[in-house]
């Protein structure tokens, strides 16, 4: 009962906030709307007993990525006059429709099994052993780390004055 209420509130706010991101003319408010959306996704994770994931969601998406987005908006010229327009409306529309089609197809073709067992008690240790333990995802994790590092170095090389 309580979980259902929490879920539906989060879901409604997520959709409203996501619409706000697309529809708001003021780009700064759109970014704030995106932050609200991220926060509510963390709420959904909490209703799914994924507490570690919820905290990481807030830390990474609200604390880091949103702040970078806002920083980028502040650095943009003439952003005070509102949303800048360009001629990319048609390509954007096509890409969005294609993406929506892929999502709808995936969602309708997935069986969505529901686990009968209770959720694992502290999730942190389980996630850690899946990521770093034997037979886990240690190789992808390391590759992601190297990828991020090379991206940082690349950004420094690009931004550095000659």
């Amino acid at each position: 009962m309580g979980l259902a209420i929490a879920f539906w509130i989060s879901a409604a706010v997520i959709i409203a906030a996501a619409l706000g991101v697309v529809l708001l003319r003021n780009i700064f408010r759109a970014a704030l709307s995106l932050i609200l959306c991220f926060l509510m996704v963390a709420g959904i994770y909490i209703t799914l007993s994924a507490d570690f994931l919820a905290a990481v969601q807030i830390l990474v998406y609200v604390g880091a990525i949103s702040v970078l987005i806002i920083l980028a908006i502040m650095m943009t010229r003439e952003v005070q006059r509102g949303n800048l327009s360009n001629k990319l409306q048609l390509p954007a529309f096509i890409v969005a429709i294609l993406f929506l089609a892929v999502l709808v197809l995936t969602a309708t073709n997935t069986p969505w099994p529901i686990a009968g067992t209770a959720p694992v008690a502290p999730t942190t240790a389980t996630i850690a052993s899946r990521l770093f333990g034997e037979g886990g995802f240690i190789l992808p994790v390391e590759i992601a780390a190297v990828l991020l590092l090379s991206a940082i170095l690349g950004a420094i090389v690009l931004a550095r004055e000659k």
């Binding site: 309580g2 408010r29 807030i58 609200v62």
Partner: protein, 374 residues
């Protein structure tokens, strides 16, 4: 004490499945929400008094001493004065965001206290990811400061907000790395478990981690000498230049609530939290918080403000390498000597700290070098 009754409710909270509206849950929630709000407001008043009087002493002047005995009612007078002021909103401001910003900044500062134990088991939610929750929630208040800086449509507000975000993003890394050292030793992310694990306060086992956390924490909450986000002589008052009345009071409250929160986190992670002989646990907790806060005031009056480029250089060239080295050393110690006599480790760790800090401050990094760090 009502604490005994909450042991049952705590089991509900600690279970992984979210409690589906059980009867006792709401009483626990209500009780600790009221306690936390009262605690934060009282401590903020105390902090303002300590800061103003203490700074007065340290700067060879009297400080506020007219309202009430020893000036004790000065925070109350300040609060009433600021509440009666007119609320001015700039014409060009983004009104909605301008109004929301203090709320967004204040909520995380209050939410931090949900996982901090006042005594054994006496906390709103004993999350098993407690310290991660703190790191995550505290990063949200950046958004509030950003909103304030942007919506005021004032260049000084914007500059203050940008400085703030640059500082927070940089200092979060050594801060979290210092926390990881503590978590490695304690073997738990829950703050209550971390306190229970501290048979000797972790400041002895993690002296370098403590100083890194203290410095990075002060920078995160804009305490002097890292207060250049609101440097009065450069950018008026930073992100809250255009705020007045109640909304300015909210930002003032956030500043001190965050200072108290950082003191409480330092107390919990490094100073043994509520543990101590003779006195009741909550009193120990309050005493330690006040001691840490006093150290912050002391630092504020002693050190001059650092420049923006020095701020960045200090985070990336001094705190970050030391934090990484501290983490590696701690990991080796935890893996290699899990059950050794701690006193040997304590001496070794203090020696390592002294050596590293000397090495870095003498040879690898000096604040300024007499030129501009880019």
């Amino acid at each position: 004490m009502a604490i005994l009754d909450f042991n049952i409710n705590r089991q509900v909270l600690m279970s992984a499945v979210p409690p589906d509206w059980p009867g006792g849950f709401w009483w626990h929630w209500l009780f600790f929400t009221v306690v936390i709000i009262a605690f934060v407001l009282t401590m903020v008043m105390a902090a303002i008094y300590i800061e103003r009087r203490g700074m007065g002493r340290m700067q060879s002047r009297l400080g506020p001493n007219r309202t009430g005995p020893f000036g004790l009612l000065q925070p109350v007078a300040d609060a009433i004065k600021v509440l009666l002021k007119e609320n001015i909103v700039p014409t060009k401001a983004d009104k909605l965001v301008h109004w929301l910003a203090p709320v967004v900044a204040f909520a995380p500062a209050l939410m931090l206290f949900a996982v901090i134990p006042f005594q054994n088991g006496a906390l709103l939610a004993d999350l098993n990811i407690g310290i991660l929750y703190i790191v995550a929630i505290s990063s949200v208040s950046t958004v509030g400061i950003f909103m304030a800086g942007w919506s005021s449509s004032n260049k000084y507000s914007l500059l203050g907000a940008m400085r703030n975000v640059a500082a927070i993003v940089s200092y979060e890394i050594p801060l979290v790395l210092a926390i990881v050292g503590v978590v490695l030793i304690a073997g738990s992310l829950s703050l209550n478990q971390i306190v229970i694990a501290q048979d000797i306060p972790f400041i002895l086992l993690q002296p370098l981690g403590f100083f890194l956390f203290f410095a990075a924490g002060c920078a995160e909450i804009n305490r002097s000498p890292f207060d250049l986000m609101e440097a009065d002589s450069e950018i008026v008052a930073g992100f809250h230049t255009e705020y007045s009345g109640m909304k300015f009071a909210m930002f003032y409250l956030v500043e001190y609530a965050e200072a108290i929160a950082i003191s409480a986190i330092i107390t919990t992670l490094f100073l043994g939290g509520w543990r101590g002989p003779l006195l009741p646990p909550w009193l120990w907790f309050v005493i330690k918080i006040v001691a840490v806060f006093f150290a912050m005031v002391w630092m504020r009056t002693t050190l001059p403000r650092i420049r923006i480029d020095q701020l960045m250089a200090f985070a990336w060239k001094f705190l970050l390498p030391l934090a990484v080295i501290n983490l590696v050393i701690t990991a080796i110690q935890v893996l290699a000597w899990p059950d050794t006599l701690p006193w040997a480790l304590i001496i070794v760790n203090f020696a390592i700290m002294a050596a590293l800090v000397l090495l870095w401050s003498k040879f690898f990094f000096k604040l300024g070098w007499g030129r501009i760090e880019v």
